[in-house]
Symmetry: D2
Subunit: 320 residues, 4 copies
Amino acid sequence: MIVMKHRAWFSAIVGVTLMLTFVSGRTVLWGQTDRWYPSRWGANDQRGAANRITPAKILEAKNLITRGAIYPVGRVYEPGMPMFGTRHYSLRIPQAFKIPGSNQAVYHDELVSGELGQIGTQFDGLGHLGIGDLFYNGNNRADFAQPEGLTKLGIENVGPVFTRGVLIDVARYKGVSQLQPSYEITAADLRGALQRQNLEIRPGDAVLIHTGWGALWMKDNAKYGQSCPGIGVGAAQFLADEEVTVVGADNWGVEVSPNPNASLAAPVHQLLLARNGIYLHENLNTADLARDSVYEFAYVFVPLPLKGATGSPGSPIAIR
Amino acid sequence: MIVMKHRAWFSAIVGVTLMLTFVSGRTVLWGQTDRWYPSRWGANDQRGAANRITPAKILEAKNLITRGAIYPVGRVYEPGMPMFGTRHYSLRIPQAFKIPGSNQAVYHDELVSGELGQIGTQFDGLGHLGIGDLFYNGNNRADFAQPEGLTKLGIENVGPVFTRGVLIDVARYKGVSQLQPSYEITAADLRGALQRQNLEIRPGDAVLIHTGWGALWMKDNAKYGQSCPGIGVGAAQFLADEEVTVVGADNWGVEVSPNPNASLAAPVHQLLLARNGIYLHENLNTADLARDSVYEFAYVFVPLPLKGATGSPGSPIAIR
Amino acid sequence: MIVMKHRAWFSAIVGVTLMLTFVSGRTVLWGQTDRWYPSRWGANDQRGAANRITPAKILEAKNLITRGAIYPVGRVYEPGMPMFGTRHYSLRIPQAFKIPGSNQAVYHDELVSGELGQIGTQFDGLGHLGIGDLFYNGNNRADFAQPEGLTKLGIENVGPVFTRGVLIDVARYKGVSQLQPSYEITAADLRGALQRQNLEIRPGDAVLIHTGWGALWMKDNAKYGQSCPGIGVGAAQFLADEEVTVVGADNWGVEVSPNPNASLAAPVHQLLLARNGIYLHENLNTADLARDSVYEFAYVFVPLPLKGATGSPGSPIAIR
Amino acid sequence: MIVMKHRAWFSAIVGVTLMLTFVSGRTVLWGQTDRWYPSRWGANDQRGAANRITPAKILEAKNLITRGAIYPVGRVYEPGMPMFGTRHYSLRIPQAFKIPGSNQAVYHDELVSGELGQIGTQFDGLGHLGIGDLFYNGNNRADFAQPEGLTKLGIENVGPVFTRGVLIDVARYKGVSQLQPSYEITAADLRGALQRQNLEIRPGDAVLIHTGWGALWMKDNAKYGQSCPGIGVGAAQFLADEEVTVVGADNWGVEVSPNPNASLAAPVHQLLLARNGIYLHENLNTADLARDSVYEFAYVFVPLPLKGATGSPGSPIAIR
């Protein structure tokens, strides 16, 4: 909020801002009036913070691999996993196919369906969520959201994520195994936890937040999905300022839900995806990393290149 | 074929073999009468050659990363890509969802369906193809092939593949940019190409075969899918003897199709998957690696852990 | 059960029966040892009791239409409807398609998936359920249950059902609005109810059983699906003896569940579908017919001709 | 076109019309400036011409049934059938389910997916196609086209179609077995054919047009789908004036394609669906009716009540 000496000027600016909101396409968000586009990577960029994964960053990550120990950080996809609304996940094994031949080759395949980039462990792409009609780099959904796939910002643009990963164990910092439902993780929480862990964040990192909420996965799915602790707008802005590439968590939305400001829904998604081109990685399993105090690692995830998709399934891995 | 001095003994053995085939469950394959199970990793093993990816192997792979250059080796999934039979691939972007709130959060997801582990770039798991009713480690499909997913050998058992990768550029070895349709790559071809490249294969490797056939992908799909050059049984046995973990190629089946022995269908699949627990990776894009003469690299692929699936989609990567 | 004077003979027959069960493919069912195939309509017949719908039967049904009043007897297909196991139902409206042209044609379609012949109001075909490996007319599932569709007994063989419909209001006959969970409707119940309604059943009829259980649909789905009142084996045999074509009900399985004989699962399905080629129609809405005491009507249902399917969705109608 | 004495006034009106087009939501279509909403059935009506199917109309149809002969007019749904764009149709039979019990109940279901209301024989609902953003009764797609289903104009609103059916054999009227590709059927063609057949159309009818194009179905799908003979705007207006309820044909779009006016796409869909609330039934099989000169019959079709769908699959029937 901009503090003004003169109320008259203040009112004028609010009024002008509101007017500009509707006339020019600028969105006033939480009092901010700046325009988030064009992107710092150019008006045609579709990759956002993936641009931070350079050969140097890849080598930095590689150098963290000293033991050859891989921690899978993704969840198995199975029926009954927590899912939002009326999304579905189905897998069936059809009757076997017998290939004619003397060697009796018999094979199976599987028929899979569902909102695959947005169920289970999911990597949100830049076409997933926006502010009104506008998405990352000012792309308007009326232009790019086509029935056969997004024509801009599709997940196939991201490319492999091979970068330094940092686990911020906020639960341990707060002295608990699991944060409270709807606890908002603040920038101060993140800084404090990093300090306890004697680590800093660097540009291009994949930052994983451990809340402990993941312990509810497939144990109490109703509770898991009803709300969650997670980062708030302030913490998200901190991570954006640190110029990370991915923010992940062991909850279903990364951000706290519901937001403490009851009138806001998914503001962190908007701040990270739309305004900063930073990816989100949801429904992660960070329990083993937290248990072993593995706070720094190579983070590897290759989005499934479904052309025009909004996100990607898949199991990211952490390697030490 | 076992050479016998005495015809009588020979006939007896053939007769006994045939009898044993039907009575005991042993399969006579290309003259071999040995039984491929239980697996060398034990009667309960479901992971086969994935067991070869040890921390030491991971470190060996990691040490090949010197430039931080990533080559995506997988194909984009898109409508119109070559597919077998009546399989399908569908992706649709539903109407946007508007989340109630003052900040106008609007999001997209995608609805995807198809035989996802067996279309596009596909990693064949050990539940994919067998010999009659028997699959890797002697598992009988009547037991494990259940409608909601394979209860044994499902792809979720494989775990991350992070290993030494070797590209064998057979096309270049033969002095062409693209091998002939239905050209059978022999063990001698593989040895010769490796010698030209001054490389050897080691246990646990992911071996990628470059045939040049991949140049037809999305250029002439009809030709791409009608047949292909690829490894034959002899070359497959060579790779199995070298104890690799994955065999991949820039064609749709890895193995030559049709097989020069017209009565055999997918014998290499049987030899590698069922008899040796070695994975196949099909529809790869090896063109860039071949172009840049990148023959040795870290090969990274994390199967999509769809519980009970026969295979996995996804884009593997090669890193130097 | 066959009553024998001499125990020795009895034991011998039991023993012989058991032996015959395993050696000859005959199934002993509830003490019956007869063989239900070949069908009375011939060894190649795939249509079963649909053969009873002749032009004369169609005219008989037509003559019941006197008021031009149509009662839809099917349920709307919507998310959240009761479904068995891990079946799913998904409908999404993709982003609109805009057709190039000066007249701004814009259209929507829908993407639907699920086990469509076996969810919601469902008409069970003869390939749906069998006794061991054997289905209607002795067809063995190893032969006809192919991955791309049943090659025998597929729903496309049934043809339109336009026949005399009879509602048997068993609930009213028993003096209640809703039968108890797991109440077994007996042949005596059916006869008594028909007598109250002053009606008889004729060959080729579609007989709908009103249990009152349908009132739970989309009101208490958990209770709806957990069990249900319905016909037992005796009532099913009565209907088979009456040579009906379809048996339907306002519950999820037509037959009582669980069966009073705890060792039996779906014996009525076996008796009607497999042994008699009589179709089942589940999840019907018979409330309006019962409310209006409409007991005799034209029953019209055209199975969705999905080639090779086991059943059909769709809304049957009753016309007076 | 309004004839004006004074050119000045004429120009003014054109200018005002164009202005009104963009400012008020009125659509100028082929020179017509009238507003097609609210519907004659009221501003809240969602059923359009289905309102014409009254008990009297049902009885009129019933009285046409004299022989008890049913002609299925729909096509079997199978892989490889002609489909538009990247739509798909998939049916798979999963591995059999075995129900625990002494009676060995084994069952199959099928997994189906695709744009089911808009593939194969398809009945277009009023939410399927519009003029710009406006659909039947002035409904705006921004309001009713929600991701989980149309919230207005969904196919579940239509109700059973049991009405008088009329086959207009235009091919025979023109002396051919199959009309030429892209032949526009005019109102004069329809009148002439009706006169030859000594029939008239009545309000509420289902009018089926026989072009002969259906002979290409599953014989030459490429030709079938590339273009088709069909009714043009004039013929459509004639049918709308006759107040029919359904217009069907043995081609893929009912209307001629491409339209003789190259700048128009799907104008008949707009005229019938949006402006008049009249349904379209595509990909019908009218060959048997034409062969047997069955021109008047009961037409029966019950839309599959998929809540929120844009159209319905299913096989309509004609009964004499």
